[in-house]
Symmetry: none
Subunit: 380 residues, 2 copies
DNA sequence: CTTTATACTGAATCTGCTT
DNA sequence: TAAGCAGATTCAGTATAAA
């Protein structure tokens, strides 16, 4: 990510490291990763059997004190790995954690306690959840992800345009409807049984990575499991660091990543963010004669007008300023995007200045293409 | 509720009590209510004013009651009222709390700490949420409710059949799709402005009470506001105890309850809900790998072509857009149905994208069938 | 009366670079 | 570090006005 100080050089990139999550994290350099996706143990309390984060079974003592102590154990474990996670994230990095009602409230509260800044909670609505077969509750048809920046002032990445494009050109909402991981996507053992109980669907990670990372970014997954995060990172031409304590899972994940193919570079490009497009000063359009000095420009309703001057400012009566400033001034607004506010006449219709900007960028791209087509000859 | 010892005789039934929530709760008898619905302050921590792209100002929640100096203060407040809530619930009672990502993790963790037993987290998906105006996050399109029993061994009430009937005879899921409270339902002051910034929709409380209470049950609402809980309790022939700190709100809520009519006793509310028709964004087919990024697509006559990108847009030369937009662009048409316009190669023939849409819907239906068929095995 | 255009609104932690 | 300023940014709905 631009500007931020990163420490990737010492990272073991694109590997699944086998070991205890916190131990391995302690061995990695500070401020070295762009994004973290974590699918920690859920502390599920099913069939009377209580499991600690280390998978050991808690004695079935059914009193309040024991439940309390178990929550404490889970909290301590959570605070440990989340503290390390925060150290590994660089200042503009973000983290995703996923959980169910069993553990997500512990995760969220501790994230906040540690200084993470929650950006969204995302609901993964399952298209094919397991029904509630005792009929004693609502069908538990979703899981929750928390997306948080390292701190309140992080300049985090959010690929807004890509998410909007992914959702038929309306803003992507906080509720995502995706199927469970089933069929061929599900890793199975030699008996055809699922290898891992909670393998996440590739579609989920695809969207997570597309939303919050850039090409070549480094994503850490402290609970790699079957390696969905790593595989999607490779597919989308990102880098990953995976940690998995169970050797069988670590092996399966590594083999899966091996099988995964990276998409061709030109296929991972998504709709660019406008902010990242090259900045075009309006004055340069006048210089390059995309619009002539003296042209009269109007707002869409032709309520106000102004004249273009050779240095790219607009003049209206005694008032003068940039396209943005004069627009704000004439409408008594605190601010104004002059590119979309001002229009000029072309073929009897009003065209926004923004069209000229697009045309100039297209012309530049065209020129670039022509130039690079010539490169092989020139370079040889 | 059957069997449980209740103490309703000393309760001030069907009244809105004006006073501080915890103070009033302390004056009520132990184990006296069947159900609690609580909509506490969210502690939103809004900073500056927010403007829409048209420069209008968003009327946010800037009331003093939503301001807490820090998380610790909010936690202390939460622990206080939840402790009283637990005392007031009889042993088989349940509680609902609603919140957003700002406070729901604090609420959930403290509920668990106090010994409540979480039954479900319910996602209220808003059909018409406020968009994200700066394009810096996902549209915050939901709020979360936690439904919890007083303790793990509570014999709580869940009206399974009523919920199933309400949902076209399939189990009610944990994600509910309901509109905001607007129009005539919204209480307004003499200037026509909203009386309360966070009035909840009646449909939400209707479902909550129908799911978890019986006729003549007593429901406590410690943060009554405009009295949606009380009004729905009266409509559904339940009893309520409301607590509200602000005299204006307490008065408005009491008047609202007065206007509300109880349904006739034999009117069993099982209004069938329409199920949502699944909309398939093209991007989701890329995510789910029904079609791969990098695939080249053509019109039927192969006159134009484009490449699929990971966010579901198509790229052709320097032009990029949704399947619909790019189809229109390349054919100079005002609009275009990209689903039928674009084709990809499969077995040497051109297949329209629409086929993939059908296939994804069929796959979802298939997975649904398999999932429910597998349940007995998974349950073992 | 019908249709179309315009205005308004909702629990929101809502910018980022340069000087 | 604070100020200045370029410029990016909205969906579903209801209510009212205009045609």
């Amino acid at each position: 990510m631009s500007g931020a100080i990163k420490n990737t050089s010492d990272l073991p990139l694109d590997k699944i490291l086998c070991g205890e999550c916190v131990d391995v994290m302690r061995s990695l350099p500070t401020a070295s990763v762009d994004c973290i996706f974590a699918d920690p143990p859920y502390n599920l309390q099913l069939r009377g059997e209580l499991r600690r984060p280390d998978d050991s079974v808690v004695d079935g003592v059914d009193d309040d004190w024991d439940k309390f102590s178990d929550l404490e154990t889970y909290d301590r474990f959570t605070r440990e790995w989340l503290s390390e996670a925060r150290r590994l994230l660089h200042k503009d990095g973000t983290i995703w954690v996923i959980g169910s009602y069993h553990n997500i409230f512990r995760l969220g509260a501790i994230l906040q306690d540690l200084g993470f800044w929650i950006l969204n909670d995302i609901v993964w609505r399952k298209s094919n959840p397991m029904p509630n077969f005792r009929g004693r509750r609502f069908t538990n048809a979703h899981e929750t992800m928390i997306w948080a920046a390292r701190s309140q002032d992080s300049k985090y990445r959010f690929n807004y345009q890509a998410m909007k494009a992914l959702n038929d050109d309306v803003q992507m909402r906080s509720d995502w409807y995706l199927p469970l991981c089933t069929g061929n996507e599900r890793l199975r053992n030699e008996h055809g049984l699922k290898l891992h109980p909670t393998q996440k669907p590739e579609s989920l990670l695809h969207r997570v990575l597309l939303a919050s990372t850039a090409e070549n970014d480094v994503i850490l997954d402290p609970f790699t499991g079957t390696g969905t995060t790593a595989a999607m990172a490779k597919r989308l031409r990102r880098h990953f660091v995976g940690i998995e304590r169970h050797p069988d899972y670590a092996k399966a994940a590594a083999e899966r990543v091996e099988r995964e193919e990276a998409l061709p570079q030109d296929a991972v490009a998504t709709t660019p963010m406008k902010r990242e497009a090259p900045r075009v000063p309006f004055g340069s359009l006048v210089e390059r004669n995309f619009i002539t000095a003296g042209t009269v420009v109007y707002d869409r309703q032709r309520r106000v007008s102004a004249t273009v001057t050779p240095d790219g400012t607009l003049v209206s009566g005694t008032q003068r300023g940039s396209i943005h400033k004069l627009g704000a001034l004439l409408t008594n607004a605190p601010s104004c995007n002059g590119w979309t506010f001002w229009h000029f006449e072309r073929d009897d219709t009003l065209v926004p200045l923004d069209a000229l900007r697009s045309e100039s960028l297209a012309a530049d791209a065209e020129a670039l293409t022509l130039a690079s087509a010539e490169v092989p000859i020139a370079a040889q």
